[in-house]
Amino acid sequence: MTAVPATPAPARAARAGALRAVLRNKLALVAISVLAVMVVLAVFAPLIAPYDPAAQDLLVRLRPPAWAAGGDAAHPLGTDQLGRDILSRLIHGARVSLLVGAAAALLAGVIGAIVGLVAGFVGGWPDRVLMRLADVQLAFPSILLALAIVGFLGSGLWYVIGVLGFTGWVSYARVVRSEVLSLRTREFVTEARAIGVGDVTIMRRHLLPNVMAPLATVGTLHVAAAIVAEASLSYLGLGVPKQTVTWGGMLSDGQLYLGTAWWVAVFPGLALMITALSVNITGDVLRDVADPKAYRS
């Protein structure tokens, strides 16, 4: 294993080409930077946030943002109805949003990839059963299903992740299945069987790596959808418990004051929108980069 260079030169060139393609795209660069900042904020929230997000100070309640009339530089984005610092709450809220988005997409991706691989590769009745299940899942309004499950099991971060994961696998399964349908007739799969490789190993080692690119693309889109879905659930009071700071919960709090104190609801809404948009743009870029024909002349 030692004598061989880690990466052959042309592969390195291909990867450099992918990197260049990303750098050329200004919008992509912005989106990825925004996401990077969000992740850093979320990870180091207690260190970065100027205040404890739960600390109330009724003397400064509903203080407008610093630049507005009556604003206070101590609370750059203002305070909510209990005098809690909105900037600090946004920073802490990013933790839940990003965690739920990433974990739900991962869970759905794992389920969807397995279902898609089996359906596409095995075919026959397992394929028909799995795809009918997917149709049923798709026909069922997932937010309603999420409501029902959270209503039964109670709310909590892991329930929300579970619900969004288990309701989101269909698009992954469909994409993987259709890719596998075209891959399994390729000769290298027959070749793998001809050297005595078993079905499970073929799926894991030969098919899965070849569907990773589309899988990742669906994944990023799902991250954005899951972030919004979590906010919706929290807004409805069925997501994460009230004492955890979430953007959806902040929106829900703020709507009562929209007429008098717009900043309480607008900032979490903006944060949600910017994050979802950044994730979506990143997903688009990822799809372009994953297709070698897009940047190789």
């Binding site: 052959p8 290298f188 070749e191 001809a194 030969h206």
Partner: protein
């Protein structure tokens, strides 16, 4: 010469929604150690379906082995369990496919793909499998095997890729090699090199070769015996020289006439 691989009255059907297609209809053939049998015929004559049947590689469903027997060293291949079959595949019987462009996994280094065969069948460790892969690449006439082993399929030319396929087929020291149009996708000079390589490796390891082709020039060059197929049936079989000099069937004569020659007619 005892028959190492023996196919007896094989019947292979594809049961499609639109009806049943009999791809192989009562084919019998045999090949012994150190012998080369050529199977020739036009597209759709059932030569590839026959070849894939030996390792039961036809997609089931829709494929059904409706009748006959395939014996490998006396053991019934069609009656084998999936696990038994996996031990035969790539180990006792290996295949080389037509299109080296699509027969290799595009995302894995070629050295690793060859090493996989060794690890699977000989239970070798990583380093050992790697050494075996390098040796196989060298044996298949690939210059600088160490560098090539670390490359991906798209970085190799068609001729090199076919050599990689041959290295992969031979690294397990199979007793039977089935080559399904191994030179069709290659240009003429490379074709000759690959055929020479096969003949040379056969001489050294004494394996049996079943060569599927529609190129009668290739047959004349390397085969001992020939089987001519059409519409899933064998129309003629015999020694290469006999068949070429005294074709017994109109179809064989036509095939021979369809082969371009250098001399003036």
């Amino acid at each position: 010469m005892s028959a190492l691989l023996e196919i007896e009255d094989l019947r292979v059907e594809f049961r499609l929604d639109t009806g049943t297609v009999t791809a192989v209809d009562g084919v019998s053939l045999h090949v012994g150690e150190g012998e080369t049998l050529a199977v020739v015929g036009e597209s759709g004559s059932g030569k590839t379906a026959t070849a894939l049947s030996v390792l039961r590689l036809n997609p089931e469903p829709p494929c059904v082995y409706a009748g006959g027997r395939i014996r490998l060293d006396g053991r019934d291949v069609l009656g084998m369990s999936a696990a038994q079959l996996r031990r035969v595949r790539g180990n006792e019987v290996a295949m080389v496919f037509q299109d080296p462009m699509t027969s290799l996994n595009p995302l894995k280094r070629v050295g690793a793909q060859i090493a996989e065969v060794v690890r699977r069948h000989q239970g070798a460790g990583r380093a050992q499998a790697r050494e075996a892969a390098l040796a196989a690449l060298g044996e298949a006439g690939i210059p600088d095997p160490r560098r090539r082993a670390g490359q991906y399929p798209h970085q190799l030319s068609g001729g090199l890729r076919q050599r990689v396929m041959i290295a992969m087929a031979l690294v397990g020291r199979p007793r039977v090699l089935i080559a399904d149009e191994p030179t069709t996708a290659l240009d003429v000079t490379v074709q000759a090199q690959i055929l020479d390589l096969l003949v040379d490796l056969q001489r050294r390891h004494g394996m049996a070769i079943v060569l599927i082709t529609h190129d009668l020039g290739v047959v004349a060059e390397v085969a001992d015996r020939v089987v001519v197929m059409r519409h899933g049936r064998i129309v003629e079989t015999g020694d290469v020289l006999d068949v070429f000099e005294r074709p017994g069937q109109d179809y064989t004569r036509e095939l021979l006439r369809a082969t371009p020659r250098l001399e003036r007619a």
